[in-house]
Amino acid sequence: MTVLRISDRPAGEDVLIALSDVSKSYRRGAQIVPVLSGLTFDIRRKEFLALMGPSGSGKSTMLNLIAGIDSPDQGSIKVGGEDITLLPEAELADWRAANVGFIFQFYNLMPVLTALENVELPLTLTSLGRRDRRDRAQLALSLVGLSDRVKHLPSELSGGQQQRVAIARAIVTDPTVLVADEPTGDLDRQSAKEVLEIMQRLNRDMGKTIVMVTHDHRAAAHAKRIMSLEKGDLSYLVEQRLE
């Protein structure tokens, strides 16, 4: 394992996500609480990055900014060369639909839809026909090992299975980036291991760039690189080669 300073940035065409001088603060009553200040760093293409840090350090905020579901107070966030902070809300929604797959701690599946329908949901935003959508959703579910659970409602699945459905939903549109916020935070050890192995496989075999926020060192160990946030500053990062 090699520890690198934040100034050691990957350079050139290999960079997929570039944050430059990003600051973000929240208003709590009359008080303004800074969360991130002047953050600059890049994420390489096909990287599996784990963001760690104590509660309130700003790691989820950073993930939200990268995913385009929150906007910085200042600075730019370029993904694939496009500054997403300049996109209007409607275009940003389209951009997310095409480029980002979300994996949440509590899965966030639609409880009234079956596993297959949940996975198919993001595809309804595309021009694909119903049959193609079904085929792709089936394929995504088979990639996470849930071909036999397509007609089950989330309430009929275990936590680990629900998270795997959520992963299938995240990859079904073949996005460039997967963002995962504490994806194993609600799972037992075995289910967490299975989910992390799937994520590793997606990164290794399908070349997905994954940014994962986690508290869990065991989960972080599955990433290629670990970065640690302290009070809104990337103090240092850990690069870990699994191959």
Partner: protein, 386 residues
């Protein structure tokens, strides 16, 4: 099925108890609205059923005051008049004051000619014209009290004192459903001859003259001409169309009608508040789902349409059941109300009003939750408790 429709339909069934209770409220509200609107409309049934070429001549001071029977000949002589008949409100009590039904003393032959909407079988008409104490009863009245041909019934007079016996000659029907068949008609000559003995001051007087006009175009002229005949007489007349007369009659109870109308809309307003509360609760609980949808690329408009669709679907189901229940409930109410509401027929207009009320409730109830769900920041929504 379209994904949006699937989500809407399944969300409706998600909290079955809550949806069922909201539906019950909606059904009751739309039903109550429909029945109350029907009651108001029925009150105006006489106005709607008025024949344009028929004029009614009454005492200019008040229709409670009579006119001399002798006016009939002078009215008949007015140019443009085809036929004249007369009618007296009797106001008798059948056994008990609660057994209210309208009774009129009529000039049998001419009245049935001027009011052709009263359908009397030939043999009944013959018997009625032959029997001085004869009376004919409407189908609904006959059904309610079991009156049949040959029965002798007694009414206790209120306007005209004493006990009055009548021989039922038969039953009449209405030409259309709006014709009131909860009435009893008996012969004016029987009334008049008895009054000559019992109460001479009330004899030879009639309540209202009904005038059949030759041409619809001359209604206004004939009306003026009749009143001109009796100007400066002891009993001046006021002649108006049957419709105006009925409106004037209904206007006496306008405060009640306005109250009923207000209550019918208050009922809708209450269910709107209940429905809005249901939708607000629903949307608040699902804030995280809506945020998830927005995160994966769905627009705020899509999320808003999910809430709108659910609200309108619940309101439509409740509205449809409420509308479906209105005719049988109105019919039962008409039965229970005895002769107060001769007919309670739910009009197409009322059905459309009910449907509109249901849709408006569905749309308005969704507005605030839609606004909130559409505007909530994704990061705030994702933090919301499910």
């Amino acid at each position: 099925m379209n994904q949006w429709l699937t989500l809407v339909a399944r969300n409706v069934l998600r909290h079955r108890l809550r949806t069922s209770l909201t539906l019950v409220g909606l059904i009751v509200a739309i039903l109550a609205f429909g029945v109350l609107q029907t009651v108001v409309k029925t009150w105006y049934a006489g106005v709607d059923g008025a024949v344009p070429s028929r004029l009614l001549t009454r005492n200019a001071i008040s229709f409670a005051l009579p006119l001399p029977k002798s006016y009939q000949k002078r009215i008949s002589a007015v140019e443009g008049v085809r036929r004249v008949t007369h009618v007296n409100w009797f106001g008798g009590i059948y056994k008990d004051p609660k057994n209210f039904f309208p009774q009129f003393a009529i000039d049998a032959a001419s009245y049935l000619d001027v009011f052709p909407e009263i359908l009397v079988p030939d043999e009944v008409r013959r018997a009625f014209l032959h029997e001085r104490r004869g009376a004919i009863v409407g189908r609904k009245l006959a059904k309610r009290y079991g009156f049949k041909s040959g029965d002798v019934i007694q009414l206790r007079g209120t306007v005209f004192p004493g006990n009055w016996e009548f021989l039922i000659c038969g039953v009449f029907d209405g030409r259309d459903p709006k014709t009131d068949t909860s009435q009893l008609f008996f012969r004016w000559d029987y009334l008049n001859e008895t009054l000559r003995v019992r109460s001479k001051a009330q004899a030879d007087q009639v309540g209202v003259f009904a005038v059949d006009v030759v041409s619809l175009d001359s209604v206004a002229d004939v009306s003026q001409a009749i009143d001109e005949v009796f100007r400066n007489s002891l009993a001046e007349t006021l002649t108006e169309t049957e419709r105006s007369f009925q409106i004037g009659f209904v206007k006496q109870t306008e405060a009640i009608l306005i109250s009923i109308r207000v209550v019918s809309f208050v009922v809708i307003f209450i269910i709107l508040a209940v429905m809005a509360n249901t939708m607000a609760m629903t949307a608040r609980e699902r804030l995280r789902e809506y945020a998830t949808l927005k995160a994966i690329g769905f627009s705020p408009g899509y999320v808003a349409r999910l809430i709108l669709g659910e609200s309108v679907l619940i309101a439509s189901i409740g509205g449809a059941i409420g509308i479906g229940l209105t005719p049988p409930v109105a019919a039962r109410l008409a039965e229970l109300s005895a002769t107060l509401f001769p007919t309670l027929i739910v009009s197409l207009n009322t059905v459309m009003l009910q449907a509109l009320a249901a849709v408006v409730v569905g749309v308005l109830a969704a507005i605030l939750p839609m606004r909130r769900a559409a505007r909530v920041r994704i990061v705030d929504g994702l933090r919301a408790l499910g």
